[in-house]
């Protein structure tokens, strides 16, 4: 139970306002399932039937998980997972 997951402002209604929560699991998918057990509704905002939702970016220790293994990305204790909405630059 020691993977820190940082939650963006717009999803903190699922975490009682907490900026970060902790969870466990061997993969990102398992981690999200674990979070769902304590923060009902959160998983559905991050994932749909096709995988990570289009406007959601998830980073494992600052690297975009879409380039690591998507929901099957391996996670372990001490990792930091950051969830952010996709925003424009330029």
């Amino acid at each position: 139970m020691a993977i820190e997951v940082r939650i963006p402002t717009i999803l903190r209604n699922y975490t009682d306002g907490a900026k970060a929560v902790e969870g466990g699991g061997a993969t990102l998918d398992q981690l999200f399932a674990d979070l769902e057990s304590r923060h009902p509704g959160l998983r559905g905002r991050l994932v749909d039937e096709k995988g990570l939702r289009r406007f959601v970016n998830v980073y494992l220790n600052d690297e975009d998980v879409r380039f690591l293994g998507g929901l099957e990305t391996k996670v372990s204790d001490g990792d930091t997972v950051t969830v952010l909405p996709a925003v424009a630059g330029g």
């Binding site: 717009i10 939702r53 406007f55 970016n57 975009d64 380039f67 909405p85 424009a88 330029g90």
Partner: protein, 315 residues
Amino acid sequence: MRFDSLLDSLGRTPLVGLPRLSPSPEVRLWAKLEDRNPTGSVKDRPAFWMIAKAEKEGLLAPGRTILEPTSGNTGISLAMVARLRGYAIVCVMPENTSAERRQLLEMWGARIIYSPAAGGSNEAVRVAKRLAEENPDWVMLYQYGNEANARAHYETTGPEVLEDLPSITHFVAGLGTTGTLMGVGRYLREQVPGVAVVAAEPRYGELVYGLRNIDEGFVPELYDESVLTTRYSVTSADALRRTRELLTQEGIFAGISTGCALHAALGMANKAVKAGERADIAFIVADGGWKYLSTGAYGGTLEEAEERLEGQLWA
């Protein structure tokens, strides 16, 4: 070097080595100095190419009005060309951008319409799209979806980098419209088997992610994930720290988004060192530091600078 006009001097920017920040003679960093463009940023390339394309297609003629959502540099580039060619220009810019950007835009005659700080450039895009509907005679070039943006880099930046660095192993640039990474990335992948194309994405303060709903997120139409090898999210603190290291160790006075790219480039350099592999890593210096002096990024402690930058769009 002699040119017929300022616009003709676009591109052909220097690629300089970073002897102090490079970890070893086998793992080297190279900075592509895009601040040496006519208005001082990499955005001159896509701006000129997008306008040239619109002129060729008959969309633009003197007296017409250009509309563009921009956090600054693209608007500045467009405003300069618009002034020379006789177009009016309206820029939709988030209100949390530096004072210098506003001053430069006004100097070249742009009209600025501000979008709310919360939501950052997403809001600017939304406001611009609404204005485009209300003003059908305005021409929105739309850097996020205009293929001329990426093509400018495919045709110019990419070939320049490869010509100066045939041994390139990694290309790193900031991710905004994604135009630089898509254009240079595609070109290099065609020419250099195994080259890594790495995106450095600015991670802003919470205000910028203050959307009402996660489905209001934005992914530029130009973005094609398959062009990238990987993508890093770089905090303001890391970007500021690297911007200062570039200044103190290599003498390069760059904007904050350059620190963001440098951070990812150094990450790739460290991986190469650990793996015992050679690497020639080129990254983009998108602009100089001049436009960010008022943000306080270069003075005081890093913590103070980070605090001052909170909620600002610095890339």
